[in-house]
């Protein structure tokens, strides 16, 4: 797995490349938590080059979104973890596990970043 992190003005964009499994999920968790620790709670995960995700990765996603959303400026504005680009195989995992309705999923990174 490879993580490409870009710090934008209001949002952090993380491109997740390759395989997120039990061996690599902790790295993704660590990066997201380090952003939270800095007070950065608006994250877009770009999955366009994500090849594979298993349950430890799903777990990181769910915990991250729960945590990000605890951070609020107003009722309308606050933290979130949103997803851009869901390849077919990953979408299938999302559909099987009900994750499709747990996350805001956008067609591209521009749209996802702009949603904040």
């Amino acid at each position: 797995m490879e993580l490409n992190h870009r710090r934008l003005h209001r949002v952090d964009l993380i491109e997740v490349v390759g395989r997120v499994d039990a061996a690599t999920a902790p790295q993704l968790k660590q990066l997201i938590e380090s952003l939270f620790a800095e007070g950065r709670h608006r994250i877009v995960l770009d999955f366009s080059r994500l090849e594979y995700i298993s349950s430890p990765g799903l777990r990181v996603l769910i915990e991250a979104r729960k945590k990000a959303r605890e951070w609020k400026i107003t009722d309308l504005e606050g933290g979130d973890v949103r997803i851009a680009n869901l390849p077919p195989r990953i979408k299938e995992v999302f559909d099987l596990t009900g994750f499709s309705s747990l996350f805001e999923i956008y067609g591209d990174t521009v749209e996802a970043v702009g949603s904040f």
Partner: protein
């Protein structure tokens, strides 16, 4: 190619096992999607062993084996760690909202959704043995008079019924009209399962076909007698008799 691999149950094993099982599944003739499903199910199973069977600082062995026979790709995962009790893992409610969503249990859930048959066994000598089966695509474009016998190897309940329905629908889509479900290995039928069977029967009848159920275990037969559905379904003591009934009809 060796059809078994034994590794220390640590995180380094995941990538090796993934590569091993992917090659095996392709050799066995699984298509790209089925291969991916097997890969994910096996990865979840092995992750489960790594995280729960052994103490992290003292990992033991795990053995992955596969075989390809009778239109099935069969994978087993064996370990000698703590006994695994699948009934102790709650089935995740995949419809619950984020705030209430539990993070655990997804691995086992995915395995049952991705594979056609899943069995957990434990013995003090053999340890934990997980058997997972993926059916190979059967390429018999059926003529309406052909009898298709489908062996069912699982409970038929709310969890497994959708898979059963989609599997049979697929066969109907390929042209099967005379379908016999061999229930000899079905130990449990729930009301959701019964409903699924009714829907399959209806789908076949509207197409001029017929559903037959064969070799019911006594406790499954009882579900039919209690509900009065013995009159609705074609029930047969054996697959042979179900076949004979199909033949007689024509």
């Amino acid at each position: 190619m060796e059809n078994s691999i034994t590794l220390t149950a640590d995180l380094d094993a995941l990538a090796k096992i993934s590569a091993f099982i992917t090659t095996a599944a392709e050799r066995c003739g699984l298509d790209e999607r089925a291969t991916w499903q097997v890969q994910l199910a096996v990865d979840e199973a092995v992750t489960n062993v790594i995280q729960h069977a052994y103490d992290p600082d003292q990992p033991g062995d795990l053995t992955l084996s596969w075989q390809c026979c009778d239109h099935r790709f069969i994978v087993t995962v064996r370990d000698h760690g703590r006994q695994f009790d699948p009934s102790a893992v709650p089935t995740p409610d995949i419809t619950s909202p984020l705030e209430e969503r539990q993070v655990g249990g997804l691995g086992i859930y995915l395995i049952t959704r991705l594979m056609d048959e899943v069995r957990f066994e434990f013995s003090p000598q053999g340890g934990n043995l997980l058997t997972m089966v993926k059916y190979l695509p059967q390429d018999q474009p059926a003529s309406p008079d052909d009898v298709l016998v489908i062996p069912i190897h699982d409970r038929i309940d709310a969890l497994t019924a959708p898979r059963l329905t989609s599997m049979v629908s697929e066969q109907i889509g390929k042209g099967a009209r005379q379908i016999v479900l061999d229930l000899s290995n079905v130990s449990f039928l729930s009301s959701s399962g019964l409903r699924a069977l009714l829907l399959i029967r209806k789908e076949l009848m509207t197409l001029g076909g017929e559903l037959r159920l064969a070799a019911l275990q006594p406790q499954v037969y009882e579900v039919f007698t209690i509900t009065g559905f013995t009159q609705v379904f074609n029930l047969h003591p054996s697959v042979a008799e179900a076949r004979a009934a199909c033949a007689q009809r024509h």
